[in-house]
């Protein structure tokens, strides 16, 4: 499985994930090629969000959650004891399903990440904020109202604000957990265009239940499935997006894509 020549930014090797005794993910192996977009698709409840939250160890927040296996970032295992989770999350950022700007001004929302590291001079901060908002295709709409609360924007704008907020930290990977499911179609389009641009600098993983979106936007696609209720999620098929959608190898993939279920 080739990347675009730059290799794999992150790899998942034989990952099992448990909530207490319940196994949520079974033997997941996956590679995320650098500066490419990889989509995770599958019916609701198949574990896509769970998997993506393992990548930046957000599942650590849940009591009783446990993982086995390996997740590497630049060939280093992020699940190892002693691995610095804080720095992991700065290198692997996340955009959530529902926009969640802080109850602060637009400026302070974007500046939040950079400020975490320490004092930043005003000029540098101004530059970072403007640059991030531009790259999130939001600058023109908010450049005159940076003082206004981030929560006063429309849904689509809020989501782009959250994207700008993540960009400001200069991560290497950005995870999108169903970023457009709570957004109107026009904003969705803007965000999809945005992703194509961001690909140049960031490795991206997008979870989506919208297959057309996956087909439009991604370079690689992984299809996940839960066989029946109570079973863990597994990868059914993983490959180049074009191939997946025109000539899938697994019949279950074909059924899902052609809409026979899910």
């Amino acid at each position: 499985m080739e990347g675009n020549g730059n290799g794999y930014k992150m790899r998942v090797n034989n990952l099992n994930m448990y909530y207490g005794d319940f196994m949520a993910l079974d033997d997941i192996s996956l590679d995320f090629a650098s500066c490419c977009i990889t989509a995770l698709i599958g019916p609701s409840g198949c574990g896509k969000s769970t998997l993506v939250r393992c990548l930046n160890r957000m599942n650590d927040l849940i009591d009783g959650s446990r993982v086995e296996g390996e997740i590497t970032l630049d060939d280093e295992n992020v699940l190892g004891t002693g691995y610095d989770v804080i720095s992991l999350r700065r290198r692997v950022g996340m955009v959530f399903q529902r926009p969640n700007p802080f109850p602060k001004s637009i400026y302070d929302n974007v500046a939040y990440g950079p400020r975490l590291v320490g004092k930043v001079e005003k000029e540098k901060l101004d530059f970072i904020v403007e640059d991030s908002l531009k790259r999130a295709a939001l600058w023109d709409e908010v450049k005159k109202i940076l003082d206004r609360s981030g929560q006063s924007l429309s849904g689509g704008q809020q989501q782009r604000l959250c994207i700008a907020r993540v960009i400001a930290v200069q991560p290497e990977v950005i995870l999108f957990d169903e970023p457009c499911s709570a957004i109107d179609p026009i904003s969705t389009q803007k965000i999809e265009d945005l992703m194509a641009e961001l690909k140049k600098n960031f490795t991206m993983v997008i979870v989506t239940h919208n297959m057309q979106q996956a087909a439009r936007v991604s370079d690689y696609t992984a299809f996940m499935l839960v066989e029946e209720q109570g079973q863990p999620g597994r990868i059914v098929e993983f490959g180049d997006t074009n191939t997946m959608f025109t000539n899938p190898s697994d019949s279950r993939t074909e059924n899902y894509i052609t809409g026979r279920f899910g």
Binding site: I86, L116, V117, G118
Partner: protein
Amino acid sequence: MDARKTDRIATVGFWAIGIVALGILAFIVIEIFIRGFMTAINPSFFAGKPEALKEGGGIGPMIVSTLYLTFLTMLIALPVSIGAAIYMSEFAHEGRFTRFIRFCLDSLGTVPSIVFALFGMTLFLFYLDWRTCLLAGAITMALLNLPVLLRSAEEALRLVPQTYREASMSLGASRWTTVKKVVLPTAWPGIITGTILPLGRIMGESAVVIFTVGVFVRSIPISPFDPAAPLAGYIWYVQSEAIVPDYRSIVNGGAAVLLILLFAINFGTRWLSKYYSKRKSLGG
């Protein structure tokens, strides 16, 4: 990284705070029990009659006073607060009147207990010319606890799913019938567990009882119009007058008895609410 070091320090700090909070409770309870437990469990103490001048007095009538007062208070307070909660939750539309009542309740809830005590004293002892008695205390206490009880009852009523009411009314039942036959029975366990909460407050209340019920009696009160001496007020009285030579051990013992009573109620309430929620999940 500086932020990480701060985070570690903060974590230690928060643990220390949590331990201190728990430690305060432990410290107080242990000290009181060390001094008073043996006295408290001595039958000649908790069942004996008090002494005004000599040593060796007991707190029998005081315990009875406390229980009797609590019973009377609840007798008065429960119907009123449940009735008011029913009105607020089932009959009234949210509007000027309900907002006004809530404001009155909030205000009532902030009035210091000493002011309630003086109010009770003025109303019952001056105007109605009663003497200090259980009933005066009970009515005053009922008013004091009205806000808490009403809120608990209202919450319990709100937990009843709206669909039950809709189903009942769509079958032609009036609002009152719906409340009586559907809402109240469903909310009842919640109301009970919620109203047990103030029991502890009532038993521990001293300012009100000092001014409306009494601080010393020799025998067990029988009628609601008899004077009485609930334990919390008696303890205060004994330590402030300090007449009897063994006042310290009486106060220690009395405090220990109070704590035992209150902890019993606290654990009893928990057990009760667990029991009711088990019954619910088993389809009881």
